[in-house]
Symmetry: C2
Subunit: 118 residues, 2 copies
DNA sequence: CAACTATTCTTCTGTATGGTTGATTATTTG
DNA sequence: CAAATAATCAACCATACAGAAGAATAGTTG
């Protein structure tokens, strides 16, 4: 029996899979997520992001570059400052989806612990 | 577009950010994505997944465990076989979002190359 | 039980990368 | 020009992890 029923979702080429994985990888680090979070207020300079996140300047800069390479944030230089911003709202859609999962799981875990303590 | 109040991640705790990052990390590897892709046909045993993906048995098993730990796939043992399945359709929503981005970017790149050759 | 099969576990190696530190490049200002 | 500020770059270290190979486990069948 072979896979006769092909769904609307077509199989991606290995090259595509790599690119997709790369994008996910950019979101797979708490520090980068916190930067994205800090960017929700709108376009922000690196220094300000450092204050909001508590990251070191060098590290923040490095992680922002990765987010930029992955296409999740835009970059604009103006004078001494470099301003980053969320590239579009795909990012937040992604996070919302995952956050939903996490919240559900956390709640389930809490329930499990509670029922244990009875 | 009206200025619909976008429900954003409001200051997730570091612990939450870690959990979210972990979920993304599970999707940040081509091999795991290919396993998810192979699971689109429905519940499938490990051996069959190995055939579809070309992964080694040990590796496939390992990666499936990670996907399971992240809650993206379900696991059911029946006799000698272990059957995995997509846990829900969140996974595919996530992938579709990212695939959309990747496709757009690839096309943009193609255009860039074409316009260079003028 | 013993032989067999599907899966998982264990151990190992190479590589990728997060974060730090210090130097370096832009840009403005005196 | 030199000093000050914002950000990036470069080198480094420690850790994490994908993937391979072989041993071990669990369920099946005679």
């Amino acid at each position: 029996m072979s896979n006769t029923r092909r769904k609307a979702i077509k199989s991606l080429s290995p090259a595509m899979l790599s690119k997709v994985a790369e994008r996910f990888k950019a979101l797979a680090e708490p520090t980068r997520l916190s930067l994205l979070q800090a960017l929700q207020g709108g376009e922000t300079a690196v220094g300000e992001l450092v204050e909001r996140t508590g990251l070191s300047l060098a590290n923040a800069s490095k992680q922002l570059q990765q987010l930029h390479a992955a296409g999740f944030v835009s970059r604009r230089k103006d004078g001494l400052f470099v301003y980053y911003a969320l590239a579009d709202d795909d990012v937040m859609q992604l996070c919302d989806l995952v956050c939903g999962r996490v919240r559900r799981d956390v709640k389930a875990e809490e329930r499990a612990i509670l029922s244990q303590g009875l």
